[in-house]
Structures are given as C-alpha cells and as structure tokens.
Subunit: 214 residues, 2 copies
C-alpha cells in the first residue's frame, strides 16, 4: 500500500518480479512462458536474462521475495508482547491481512509447495525461502508450546496444529472461484476478511461443538 502504485518509475528488475508474481500465481511455473512475461513487462524476452539467470531462478526470486515480506511482518508481530493467546491471535490476524492485501501470495505459496518437490532447490533464493518458512514455523511452534505449558492452550499435537493453522489461513485465499462460490462473496472483500478473522478466532477459542456441562 505504501509505494508501487505508479507502474512507471520502477526498475525493470522489480517490474519483472511484479509481473512474474502475478503470472506464476495465476498459471503456475510451467504455465507461464517467458515471451508472454516479457511482453507484459514491456521488454524483449532476451532482456529477462539480463536480470535473472534463468526461469527457475526467477521463480525462486519471486517466491523468496514474498516469503521475505511475510517473514518480516510476522516476526515483528510476534515480537510485540502479550500472553500466548494474544500473540497467536495477532499472528493469525496479521497473516490473514497479509494474504488478503496481496491476492497473489496465497496461490503462489501453495503452488510453490507443490512444485519445489522436484525443482532444483539449490539456488540461494530457494534456501533463503526455505529458511524463512522453517523459521516462522519454529516461532509459532514455540509460541504454541509456551501457551500449552502455561495452561492457556489445550494440550494438542503441535505439529498437526501448525499444519492446521496454515491450512486454515492460506487455503481460503488461494481457493479462487471455489472459495467465492462457497462464500457467496469475494474472499478478498474487506468485510469478508474481517469475518474470516473473527470466525477463525472463535473456532480456536470455542471449537465448533457446544459443550453444555462446561
């Protein structure tokens, strides 16, 4: 929201990354041709190779940039104080806001989960992305464990809970037409984003099933 509003006055390097992010999110790694990307950016295809070694490295750079931004914001979120409940709920809110503000993120994250299984994986960008993911998972894992230790969270399997939390947040914003159809509205609509945060918070607080006795 701060910059990036004017498409002009932006280095070719960043314009390529921006366009590639949109295209890769929409059609995936194999579904995007470099000639198409070059045309969108407004460059010759061969100029892309001046800024990036090859297609795979460009893809890794796109993913790494997103991961870096997410990590930066979520690390700052966790750094703020509060008990584990507050910190976890704030973490989730922040992540949802991030995914909602950038419609390409959720899709590209899930797609990269699918594709990095067989992509090379030895570029520094990929290792950086991997490090960012692992770090974030470790941080939230520690937060959850702390909450359990002090009795604020119910005892549960931390690893499965992490998978659950990621699926809960990322999936809806990547679900495209399906999500819109189930929801009846656009998931990226601000009102729906607010609702999503509230619903998720209530689920963690109360579950779904009503426990009458207590």
């Amino acid at each position: 929201m701060k910059a990036a509003s004017s498409t002009a006055e932006q280095s070719s390097h960043d314009k390529i990354l921006d366009a590639a992010e949109i295209l890769f999110a929409k059609r995936g790694y194999a579904g995007v041709g470099l000639s198409e990307l070059a045309e969108v950016v407004g460059l010759g295809k061969s100029s892309l190779f001046h800024h990036f070694e090859n297609k795979a490295q460009l893809y890794a750079a796109v993913a790494a940039r997103i991961l870096g931004r997410i990590e930066e914001r979520l690390v700052r979120s966790l750094a703020k104080g509060g008990d584990p409940i507050v910190r976890l709920e704030r973490w989730l809110d922040e992540l949802i806001d991030l995914l909602a503000d950038h419609p390409t993120y959720a899709r590209l994250l899930l797609r990269s989960l699918f594709e990095d299984d067989d992509l090379p994986g030895d570029t520094p960008e990929e290792q950086e992305a991997h490090r960012a993911i692992a770090g974030m998972m470790a941080s939230v894992g520690a937060l959850v464990r702390e909450g359990m230790a002090v009795g604020l969270f119910r005892a549960a399997n931390v690893q499965h809970l992490l998978l659950t939390l990621v699926g809960l947040t990322v999936f809806p914003f990547a679900s495209g037409e399906f999500g819109a159809e189930v929801l009846g509205k656009d998931i990226f609509d601000p009102a729906e984003v607010r609702r999503r945060k509230r619903e998720l918070r209530d689920l963690l607080r109360f579950g779904l099933v009503v426990n009458k006795g207590r």
Copy 2:
C-alpha cells in the same frame, strides 16, 4: 486398495487415466507433456487422442473421476444416521481416509481449484465435477445448519466454516515436503492419519484455547 493392484489386464482408457492422475497431481496441467504420458502408459502419443479428445478433456476426465469417487463415498457416509455431531465427524474421518488412501487426490483437487479458473470449463466432465463439488458442499452445509438449529453446534458463519473444513482436511495431504517437514513424519503414515483425525475432532470439540470458567 481393492483392485488396481495388477497393472496388466486393464483397459488402455483406464491406464491412461491412472497415469495421467499421477502425473497431473505431481506437476500440474501445463507441466505434463502428452508424449511423456504416452510413454508411461506404454502407448504412442497419437493413441491418446483415440480415447480422449484433447489434453484439456483428459484432465477434466481425471478430475471428474476423482470427484465422482469422493462424492460416492461421502454421500454414503452422510446417509448413515446419527446426530449432526456424529455425522460431521464421520464425514471428516471418511474424507481424510480417502485423501490418505490416494495420495494423488488432495494435490489434484487443489491444483484443479487453481487451474479451472481459466480452463474452458464447458465439457460435460467439468460440469459433472462442478456439480459433485457443489452437491457435497450443500450437503455438509445443511448438516452444519441442522446441528446449529438443534443447539449441538455453536452459531457460526456456515460458509466460512465450510472453507475451514475443506482447508483443514485437504491442505495437509497436499502439502508435500512442507507437511512432512513440519510433521517430522510422512502425513500418509497410517498412525499420522489416525492422529490427524483425532486432532481435528478435538479442535472442533474443544477449540484450542482453554476456557477455565466453563
């Protein structure tokens, strides 16, 4: 698990579908070449077009077959009696078992969510798949609403809950290396599948946060 063990004695039509399911799940629509597929099946590339009109229709057929199988099993699950809690938990268990038994399913389902946004979408297979999805969502939606009406479920936004449930179940089995890394084990390991079902059930029953007062 019942049949399909011997790769021989199977019509070319089905062999193509089986191989395409694996390949599409692994690398996505654009990432799979028909020559590669033909080679896996053991046919000439041109023979594929005897069984399917083109690549898009083949992909739609693969997706429709999976959706049909899922729908059939889940409809049977919902048909069995029980109060909404029992029915919902059984539905989730059944879906998880299904995804766990067929490692290609979760990935291909998510991928098709991503890709059907811009694929033609007018073939009968696609419409059949779309109908199956809509029907299942409607069934579970009705079940949830019923549970809320009789006071067994907490009042919540049904549409968001549906998205949540799908993400909760499908995502982990599609998360590949990421899921395995977070979990420390293979998600398709039977013990881990059992644990997943239990954790999910407990989350719906109790939430995550401990409510001391009641």
